[in-house]
């Protein structure tokens, strides 16, 4: 252990190697049901060269590395070591915005950059980044995009990986490359910029796509030390409308219509439990809101930026209102308990401290997967049935449907808030989470981001993909040091 520490200190310096018990404890668990496991050290590299050295060294010593970029709390078990003697590589200190280019609408950032930090820098240039639903203030943008957290706007998700474009990655074998377009040029960003290359194209760099080796990988293939991001123009007009319904299925045709013609700049469906949690700051408010809000709401954002924004927004407002009417729905700027403006602000804003889903009961467990919009009601019905069977209060069950990849699929997310202090309830939720995760899979839910128990569920269904993934793991992480134990069958 001491020799390892010595090596780590040699790479990142003594102040960046932490073995304080409390700190190690804090990294040993998260808010999920993942089994706690204390790491040996936490190291905080300051640059990509140190990361590369860390990985090389870990390979030599066969030390498992667990990359972490966001600040706590974590919720998916991916940052909790699965094996003993791990070293946490905490990249939150690498938080430089390396470049912002208005002309190319590109930004390059390090792992520790947060949404607020980035949005502020982008706003100065008249830009913004498509966000996932109400990220935590200390959430790493890099992790968020690398782990494919769904964006609120599927319309501009031309590539599944949007807004992520290129990256710098140190694979588990210790080699460091640029992915995407950047991999074709000299391995130096400044030189590439001088040549007019702004890390725009994500595919590649050659006949394979190495970004896809690290995305959704929970750090099990390598460590990413910068990513380039495609940015959007900052809206000069930004509105959100709300379409209430009694059942989620009533909103499907409406949402299909909106997404198909590529109107709107944000589009999602929530049930009232989810929406109330998103909007409220206290348990009481959540309860109040739940009593006021309609059972289901489709939220539709509309924005305009520099190109005749008033005309664009006005046209889309009227057209989308027509779509709603065609579907027998109302297209409203506010509902009892919520205005479109509030929903918009909450959706794209960050939440400080705890996760917004913790407000209701202190803890929550998510189950999310990918399916298509027309199948969501099957999963929702099944989830409600399972909740009833388990004795879980269905009025607390949050549902969030986020179209992605231009509407060809949706991210369907169930949230099960619970009181972590209530052992019985926690146990019940854990059991429900396990049963429901299996059930969703058996109904065709696809765990593209297979955290925790989902890895086992998903990979067991697909022996050939698992085999190829293991082959790839063997190539990129031959010593099995990268977040060891993740994405493997048990």
């Amino acid at each position: 252990m001491e020799s390892l520490k010595k090596k780590l200190v040699g790479i990142v310096g003594a102040r960046n190697v932490i073995d304080n018990r409390d700190v190690l404890d804090s990294y040993s668990k998260d808010e999920s049901f993942a089994t706690p496991m204390k790491p040996w050290f936490v190291v905080k590299p300051e640059n990509a060269a140190q990361v590369k050295e860390l990985v090389k060294s870990a390979r030599e010593t066969e030390t498992p590395l667990v990359p972490v970029s966001s600040g706590a709390p974590h919720f998916k078990g991916d940052t909790v070591p699965s094996v003993p003697q791990s070293v946490i590589v905490d990249l939150s200190g690498m938080n430089k915005i390396i470049s912002v280019n208005r002309q190319q609408r590109m930004a390059v950032i390090e792992p520790g950059v947060t949404y607020d930090q980035l949005q502020e820098a982008l706003a100065k240039e008249g830009m913004t980044l498509a966000v996932s639903l109400r990220p935590r203030a200390n959430k790493s943008v890099l992790t968020s995009v690398l782990e494919m957290e769904p964006r609120l706007n599927c319309i501009h998700q031309f590539n599944y990986t949007e807004p992520l474009r290129c990256s710098e990655v140190t694979f588990g074998d210790g080699n460091q490359i640029y992915t995407g377009e950047a991999g074709n040029g000299p391995k130096d960003l400044q030189t590439q910029w001088d040549l007019g290359k702004w890390q725009v194209m994500s595919n590649g760099p050659n006949m394979m796509d190495f970004l896809r080796m690290v995305m959704q990988a929970q750090g099990s293939m390598g460590i990413v030390t910068w990513v380039s991001l495609k940015c959007e123009l900052l809206p000069s007009i930004h509105k959100m409308y709300l379409v209430p319904a009694k059942k989620s299925v009533d909103l499907e045709d409406f949402l299909y219509k909106v997404v198909r013609v590529r109107f709107s700049d944000k589009q999602f469906i929530m049930n009232k439990a989810c929406l109330a949690s998103l909007l409220a700051d206290s348990k009481e408010d959540i309860a109040k809101l739940k009593s006021e809000l309609p059972a289901w709401v489709s939220a539709v954002g509309i924005s305009g930026d520099i190109l005749l924004p008033e005309m664009k927004v006005s046209a889309q407002e009227q057209d989308i209102a027509d779509f709603a009417q065609d579907c027998g729905l109302q297209f409203l700027s506010s509902l009892p308990g919520a205005t479109g403006e509030e929903v918009l602000a909450r959706s794209i804003g960050t939440c400080e401290g705890k996760h917004w889903k913790q407000t209701a009961k202190g803890a929550f467990q998510d189950i999310f997967f990918i399916t298509t919009l027309d199948k969501t009601s099957v999963f929702i019905n099944a989830m409600y049935e399972l909740a009833i069977e388990a004795g879980y209060p269905t009025e607390d069950l949050g549902v969030y449907i986020q179209p992605q990849h231009m509407g060809t699929s949706v991210h369907l997310e169930f949230s099960l808030p619970y009181d972590p202090e209530n052992t019985k309830e926690a146990k019940m939720v854990k059991a429900l989470y396990t049963v429901a995760s299996e059930k969703m899979s058996s109904l065709g839910g696809y765990y593209a981001r297979p955290y925790d128990i989902w890895a086992n569920i998903q990979l067991k269904k697909d022996a050939q993909s698992y085999k190829v993934l293991q082959d790839l793991k063997g190539i990129f992480d031959p010593s099995n040091i990268m977040n060891t134990g993740k994405l493997t069958l048990k």
Partner: protein, 555 residues
């Protein structure tokens, strides 16, 4: 060298005797002549190697069984669908050619905007089927006779509509893929039987080894089915046309407009492109008709839009001062199509174009507003059924330069490139003298803008050896320009490091020599390692660029 009888029999047992041939005449027609197509390793009159047999599989299972036999007997194989591009053809003597023609099904999920297609489903047929349910498919610049599966899984796949519809790698959802070792990999949600809707994951994406910025061009087994994302089509359920062949014209209704937008200089041209990259206004955007060259495009447009006219009318047309004026007015141009999803949307898009023109000093080209020319261009741009006009002037074309990427960089060098090509037009006779600048390509090669995909159309005579050789020499000279501005290989030489000019594959030693010098050589070493994992017998030629890792590890 004929296949051993037991091998031939094994193949025949899989596909039936009607679907395999080793007849010399049949096999001879499965050789490519790079001067007669887009080989991307330069024009040459050398034929690719003769296959030992041609096999027509009818299902994924048949493909898998064929590949297993190939592995058992160490026989190389390569699959082709349309047999247009040279990359579809084998690169060695002990090889069989798979012709995927029998697999052409198209299934559309209208609600979720996706089509599941087999290799010989060309973009034109997919589009026709998609339009019936109000959807459209992204057609690569090469035209609608190309296989959508091939452009999605095997090669570049961007086109005029990419700004709105994305490039085909972006559109790729699930894929069913017979690996070179004979195993079947189904990517994304397909692998677990959950559907075609997602091509990524679980976890890291095996789709990442299916293709990169380019696909492996058949060098990594056979993709037998893919799902591709479809896009809204607010037009008629049929591709409605009027007019006589060959100048068919679109009759889509008032919510479609096709404009040739022109600008006083490249700087304003680029500013307008940036506007379009930053908005959702365009349905299609492409610098298309400049393929006929800066000096000839308006004249050629008068020929191709009129069913009665032909190339022989060109000399007479060139005397027309009115057309000359039109030609002069379209120096810095591109074509766009806007599609109104609703009446209001159309009004907005029309106004947005006017606004952009106002901001940039641009104009809508007058001649291209004439109804017949407008309707012709709209049909052309929407289906890309006339893309083979590439070849009309001389019989062959190659793309050279290839100023792809950052539009602001492109415009700084386009005139220098034009001058260099013009020099070859005036000092030599190998290529058609069309006016230097024949740069054409997408307003964006990426969904939502961000990068152009340009090439200079260079027309030559594939029948005449001097013309073929001269064109090749010109491309060699152009490479120096590419090196100077860090554009990578000339468009015409993109494949020069994956196949010899004589059509044969490179050896590993030759590839090692090349890719050890790459700025980031590990990329090629990883490609080597991945090939070793799924193609241990190296059965699909040398299109996959690989570098022996030992060269980097000091072994």
């Amino acid at each position: 060298m004929a296949l051993a009888r037991e091998v031939y029999q094994a193949f025949e047992d899989i596909v039936g005797n009607r679907n395999i041939s080793e007849d010399i005449g049949v096999c001879e027609t499965y050789r490519s002549i790079p001067s007669q197509t887009s080989a991307h390793y330069g024009p040459s009159k050398e034929w690719t190697p003769l296959p030992q047999a041609v096999i027509l599989p009818g299902s994924t299972e048949e493909v898998q069984n064929i590949v297993k036999i190939c592995n058992k007997y160490g026989i190389e194989f390569k699959a082709g669908s349309t047999f247009w591009a040279t990359m579809a053809y084998i690169g060695g003597d002990n090889a069989v050619q798979l012709d995927m023609r029998r697999m052409k099904s198209i299934e559309i999920d209208a609600k979720n905007m996706a089509a599941v297609v087999e290799p010989f489903a060309i973009a034109g047929t997919i589009q026709a089927e998609a339009m019936k349910v109000g959807l459209n498919v992204q057609i690569p610049g090469v035209g609608c006779s190309s296989s959508t599966l091939a452009s999605s899984s095997g090669w570049a796949g961007f086109g005029p509509a990419s700004i709105f519809m994305g490039a085909n790698p972006e559109n790729l959802l699930g894929a069913e893929w017979v690996l070179p070792n004979g195993e079947i990999l189904r990517t994304g949600s397909l692998g677990s039987g959950d559907g075609w809707f997602c091509g990524e994951g679980p976890g890291p994406s095996t789709r990442g080894i299916l293709r990169g910025i380019f696909g492996p061009a058949g060098s990594m087994g056979v993709c037998t089915k893919i799902a591709t994302r479809l896009h809204p089509w607010p037009g008629p359920k049929q591709f409605r046309t009027y007019g006589k062949a060959p100048a068919y014209k679109a009759d889509f209704g008032d919510n479609f407009k096709c404009y040739t937008l022109c600008y006083p200089d490249w700087e304003s041209w680029a500013r307008s492109v940036q506007y379009f990259h930053e908005s959702d206004v365009l349905y299609i955007g492409h610098r298309q008709f400049n393929m006929f060259g800066r000096n000839l495009k308006a004249f050629m447009l008068n020929i191709i839009t009129d069913p009665e006219k032909q190339l022989s009318d060109l000399p007479e047309l060139l005397k027309d001062p009115e057309i000359q004026k039109h030609n002069d007015n379209m120096k810095h141009d591109y074509q766009v199509v806007i599609a109104g999803m609703t009446k209001r949307d159309m009004e907005y898009k029309e106004k947005a174009i006017d606004y952009i023109l106002e901001q940039t000093g641009g104009w809508k080209h007058e001649m291209m507003l004439e109804k017949e020319k407008h309707d012709y261009a709209l049909a052309y741009m929407t289906r890309l059924g006339h893309k083979n006009l590439n070849y009309v002037m001389c019989g062959a074309y190659e793309g050279t330069f290839g100023l792809s990427g950052n539009v602001w960089k492109t415009i700084q060098v386009v005139e220098e490139a034009s001058a260099q090509k013009r020099k070859w037009e005036t000092e030599h006779t190998c290529i058609a003298a069309t006016g230097g600048d024949s740069a054409m390509g997408g307003v964006s090669s990426l969904g939502g803008g961000g990068a152009t995909g340009w090439e200079f159309f260079t027309n030559f005579d594939s029948y005449e050896l001097e013309s073929v050789q001269g064109t090749s020499d010109m491309v060699d000279e152009n490479q120096a320009f590419h090196n100077k501005y860090a554009f990578g290989p000339d468009f015409c030489r993109w494949n020069s490091d994956v196949r010899h000019v004589n059509g044969y594959s490179y050896t590993q030693e030759e590839h090692d020599e090349m890719f050890a010098k790459a700025p980031q050589p590990w990329i090629y070493a990883y490609q080597y390692k991945i090939r070793e994992a799924v193609n241990p017998n190296h059965l699909c030629g040398s299109y996959l660029r690989t570098l022996s890792p030992g060269k980097l590890e000091g072994k």
